[in-house]
Amino acid sequence: MTGYRLKLTAPLEARLDFSGVTPAALAGLGLDGVARKEVLLGTRRVLLGDLFEVSEAASEALVVSGDPRLDFVAADLADGEILVEGPVGVLAGARMSGGRLVVRGDAGESLAAGLTGGRIEVSGAAGARLGCALPGERLGMRGGMVSVAGDVGAGLGERLRGGLVLVGGNAGAGAANDLIAGTIAVAGRLGPDAGRGMRRGTLILAQTPEPPAPGFVDTGSHDLVALLLLARRVPALADLFGGGLSGRAQRLAGNRLVGGEGEILLLQ
């Protein structure tokens, strides 16, 4: 099977709901079939062919031109790969359960909301509430892996329940709020008020963060075998911190105000 390339003929004039446009959904449709697929542009139903020039791609991946109004990219993706050349809008990778989304650009708000599996790689920055819960849902991201090379906005990992988030740049205020479980690693600086209502889970930091939310206790510095193990089982985590972890970290436990036993590990 060969994939398709969808090249925008002009910048989007309204928000485009790209959910349902996945390699599996397009498989076997042919160039004409792909061009005739309906999508929602603002409140209008339009055909992919009205907005994109459709051609066959050399790889099996679905290759799409990016646009900051291109929303719900890779939503519900279960397998296959989507490669976006440029930015994406909000809710990229929402409810994704497998496969891979690569964004060569920035991602909007609520990236990886409700993610349960698969991998998302963003070469630029990402907006607020990465890994959050979808509207009406109780739990945020539950599995899979997200890596953002640049900065991320406020509310990183809100109600995160599982999986791994790697942030190469800085993270905004209020990260890990109401976090239930899972792992977030930030190579840059973490903004203030992190970990409000945090139950379990781990925030791994390389730089001293702004003061976290009240309720964290300093348990001192420790040599943690678990960090050595993570560094080897998740090479991307080791790479985020320059290729390896010493295993030594200061451990802040919390949030004790809600009886939580999560942790902020400040690498040393």
């Binding site: 479980a181 379990r200 781990t202 075998v225 050595l228 560094a231 080897r232 089982r233």
Partner: protein
């Protein structure tokens, strides 16, 4: 068949199906990885009295272990999956969790799950921490020394083979011991098989049953040199001592490879070193489904035992 003056007797080792798994034990130093592994595989020579059979498979360099520390891989076998699921968390809990700086990881993937952290996490009394990476979950158990880290489960195989064996018949005790040591050294190179008896060697092979009611095994009198003439003996006059090597493996091939390596090492010493013959222990072929025929084993380089002789 005679190899370097050593007779390979027309006999076979009779072996049994077992459930088995491999664990990787690491520690801050090789000494403490070995200590934890030795403790965990202690008192595990025979299922008859120990409930399982276990031994160290090999030492691992830091680059080979999950956490980059020195390690040891161990194999552990039981007669059933149910037994294995019982003995592994018991042994890891008593001997590895307690051992300074240790951690314990799955050494096999797939197959029925053998609980590690799944059972041991409760020691943390609610302070246990799980972390799931991909399909693997690890547990961190706070302990006085720091943290005990282990995988939630290990994979296992139910196609393991236990009770592969061969006997070294030698002119003297010293010759038998030297030959057994050479065999164990050679067999240590075979991955996926271990020799669960002390140092890999059994000096007291047994036969089934006894004159005493309730004793299911007793000394193999036909091979006791001091009973020659008292009982129907399997020993020619020149044999002064017999030692046995018992092998458990994750599969039939591993046991066959291990036996072949061991017998070859003994034969390399040869008659000049006081080795008279190689024999094997069996029960007439009616109890165990795996028959490792010595002569076939030593003829067919790379071949396996003649299984399929299901009794």
């Amino acid at each position: 068949m005679i190899l370097n003056g050593v007779e390979i007797r027309e006999s076979f080792a009779e072996a049994f199906p077992m459930a088995g798994t491999r664990l990787i034990i690491t520690a801050d130093t090789p000494r403490w990885a070995r200590t934890a592994a030795a403790s965990m595989t202690g008192f595990a020579t025979s299922v008859i009295g120990c409930g399982c059979e276990a031994a160290i498979e090999r030492e691992l360099a830091p680059s080979e272990t999950p956490d980059g520390r020195p390690g040891v891989s161990v194999l552990i076998f039981a007669m059933s999956l149910k037994d294995l699921k019982k003995v592994v968390p018991l042994r890891v809990g008593q001997c590895v969790l307690t051992s300074p700086t240790s951690a314990c990881y799955a050494g096999l993937e797939g197959g029925p799950a053998i609980p590690l952290g799944r059972a041991l996490r409760y020691f943390a009394d609610g302070h246990q921490m799980a972390k799931k990476i991909g399909d693997q979950r690890i547990w961190r158990v706070p302990v006085m020394e720091g943290e005990f880290v282990c995988d939630e489960i290990s994979g296992s195989v139910t196609s393991a083979v236990g009770g592969g064996n061969f006997l070294i018949l030698a002119r003297s005790r010293a010759a038998a011991l030297a030959a057994a040591e050479a065999a164990v050294d050679a067999m240590g190179q075979v991955e996926g098989a271990v020799m669960p008896f002390p140092g890999g060697v059994v000096r007291s092979g047994s036969k089934v049953g006894s004159k005493y009611a309730g004793l299911i095994a007793s000394t193999n009198d036909a091979y006791c040199p001091t009973l020659r003439g008292v009982v129907p003996s399997a020993l020619p006059p020149e044999v002064g001592s017999v030692m046995e090597i018992v092998i458990d493996g994750l599969g039939e091939k591993e046991v066959a490879d291990s036996m072949r390596a061991g017998i070859a090492a003994v034969c390399e010493l040869g008659a000049d070193a006081g080795v008279v013959a190689i024999d094997a222990g069996n029960y007439g072929g009616n109890l165990g489904p795996f028959h490792f025929k010595l002569r076939e084993l030593m003829t067919s380089a790379g071949g396996t035992a003649s299984s399929g002789d299901l009794a």
